[in-house]
């Protein structure tokens, strides 16, 4: 039987990789994918918890997270498209009209 902590560490590592990606990439889409990565990390830990706790809530939450993730994806990509129409770039650095 695999100790729970392994799953925990795994999810943590993935989560942090997501953070890393978000912090260091300049392509909006990839930044957004990093966020998805973080969500997945959370999912891993949640499912693990619910398995070890023998409780369903975790998986329910995962279900909802996936739903929301889908929604977020839709909106996020819509925003990106709208942005792209006005300014043909997916580079965050070039999208800094407002500052100060």
């Amino acid at each position: 039987m695999i100790p729970l902590s392994w799953y925990l560490y795994l999810s943590t590592v993935v989560f942090v990789i997501g953070v890393f990606g978000f912090l260091t990439r300049r392509n909006i889409i990839i930044m957004f994918m990093s966020v998805e990565l973080m969500l997945n990390a959370v999912n891993i830990s949640l499912v693990a918890f619910s398995h070890y706790l023998q409780d369903m809530r975790g998986q329910v939450l995962v279900f909802f997270i996936i739903t929301v993730a889908a929604a977020e994806a839709a909106i996020g990509l819509a925003i990106i498209i709208a942005l792209f129409r006005n300014k043909a770039t997916a580079h965050v650095d070039e999208i800094s009209e407002m500052r100060g």
Binding site: V42, R57, L61, V68, L83, E97
Partner: protein, 463 residues
């Protein structure tokens, strides 16, 4: 395993009604051509909702939904917020040429999300409510599709928001793993009974919650999205965002930290205190050097979040009450100020830079008089509501023994006087550059009347 029994829908009635009406509005939009009518319908619907609000108290869905005085008050704030926002939007979105019916239903959905947050008794519900609100607000922020600034605002808000909610989820999962539940009361109960208060994982998840909520209330250093989002978003939406999500954030912050994390109060006070100081400091100080009034008000709203945090930090019921009070007052004075700004926006004239206010008192004495009142209220000069709000918050904070924190706060609020007064100065003590014409409408007038009355009356008779 017990069979399913239909839960009591009484407490949740306002939300249900809100949902139905929002959908109805969505449909109505298809048939109604004049969007003003849609707005009007929306106002009526809100009236209905606020009617159902009365007496809809209790706990249902197995403790997932708690409708008590606390949530009730916040819902009141949200209702007012959305009402005033719709009022100031009617003309404005027409001017911005984004006069779509979806706008209103989205606002309603966002409000619905806030209402759910306010009375969430379970982390899952909390999360979903938060996302409902957030997603709607992202869309609203980017509502002016052809405007790059609007897109950018939406984009920044969206990405950072998703980032923040990821942290929230991580926190939720931690606390879930620890306690095996997501119900706030149960969590609190469990932590106390199993003496987990000292456990770093609790602290960790508490921190993650704090971060996520700080993002929603735009507290430093998680405020970075706010100025850009506020500047880029349509002004009416800015008004909406600067009050609604902030209040909702405070609602969940108070709810979670007062119930679930009540036992680690020392810890989260220690986390929030520096955040509060930074928030007040950065908000007020950076606002000094702004040239765009929307951006300036963004920073000011950051600062106000800082003041309100004092009430949370106090950690007493008195403190929470003061925060509610503050949020209500803030809603009035801030939306009032935005209403004036919106009037300046007209075809081919953005009217959102400070210099557009020069000599306004000569051309539009009434508007500038109103702005004067709101500015002094935001500064916190009696006899305006702003003073009463601050006063109550400070009082509860001192009462909880945070005197030094309050001294810091008052110093910052004195500094804040400078940039609020600068608006007044520009209006009254400068000569008008070019003729500014106001786009007024009965709706905006009504909004201004309400806010003004509220600011003055609360200022004189807070009870």
């Amino acid at each position: 395993m017990p069979e399913f029994v239909m839960p009591d829908l009484g407490p949740v009635m306002p939300e249900i009604v809100m949902t139905c009406l929002a959908l109805a509005l969505l449909l109505a939009d298809l048939f109604i051509k004049r969007k003003e009518t849609v707005a009007f319908l929306g106002i009526i619907f809100i009236g209905i909702v606020s009617y159902t609000l009365v007496g809809a108290t209790g706990t249902t869905f197995g403790g997932m939904f708690v409708s008590d005085g606390y949530s009730m008050f916040f819902k009141l704030i949200f209702i007012l917020n959305v009402l005033l926002t719709i009022l100031i939007s009617v003309k404005y979105i027409a001017v911005e040429r984004v006069n779509f019916g979806e706008y209103y239903s989205l606002i309603l959905f966002a409000t619905l999300g806030m209402m759910i947050m306010a009375s969430a008794g379970d982390l899952i519900v909390l999360y979903l409510g938060l996302e409902l609100m957030a997603l709607s607000t992202y869309i609203l922020a980017g509502f002016i599709r052809y405007d790059i600034k609007s897109n950018e605002a939406a984009m920044k808000y969206f990405l950072l928001g998703a980032f923040a909610s990821a942290f929230l989820l991580y926190g939720i999962s931690m606390i879930y793993g620890l306690t095996g539940t997501t119900d706030l009361k149960a969590i609190a109960f469990f932590i106390v009974n199993n003496g987990l208060a000292e456990n770093p994982v609790v602290t960790l998840s508490m921190i993650l919650f704090a971060v996520a909520f700080s993002f929603k209330i735009a507290a430093v250093p998680f405020h970075m999205w706010a100025p850009d989002a506020y500047e880029g978003a349509p002004t009416s939406v800015t008004a909406f965002m600067s009050v609604g999500p902030k209040a909702a954030g405070f609602a969940v912050l108070g709810r979670v930290f007062m119930t679930a994390f009540a036992s680690v109060q020392i810890d989260w006070a220690a986390v929030l205190t520096p955040i509060a100081i930074l928030t007040m400091g950065v908000g007020n100080i950076v606002a000094l050097s702004q040239t765009n009034i929307k951006r300036m008000l963004a920073y000011s709203s950051i600062a106000h979040a800082g003041y309100a945090l004092l009430g949370i930090i106090a950690g007493t019921s008195d403190g929470m009450a003061s925060v509610l009070n503050y949020m209500l007052i803030y809603a009035f004075m801030n939306i009032g100020a935005f209403a004036v700004i919106i009037m300046l926006r007209s075809e081919g004239f953005k009217g959102d830079t400070l210099s557009d206010f020069e000599g306004l008192a000569k051309t539009h004495p009434l508007a500038s008089a109103l702005m004067l009142v709101f500015m002094f209220s935001l500064t916190g000069i009696p006899p305006t509501a702003g003073f009463m709000g601050k006063f109550y918050v400070f009082m509860s904070a001192i009462n909880a023994g945070y005197m030094w924190l309050v001294i810091v706060a008052v110093i910052f609020s004195a500094i804040s006087a400078y940039f609020y007064l600068r608006v007044v100065m520009l209006m009254y003590m400068k000569e008008p550059k070019e003729e500014v014409k106001l786009t007024t409408s009965p709706a905006v007038g009504l909004a201004l009347a309400i806010t003004l009355a509220a600011v003055i009356i609360i200022g004189i008779l807070p009870s």
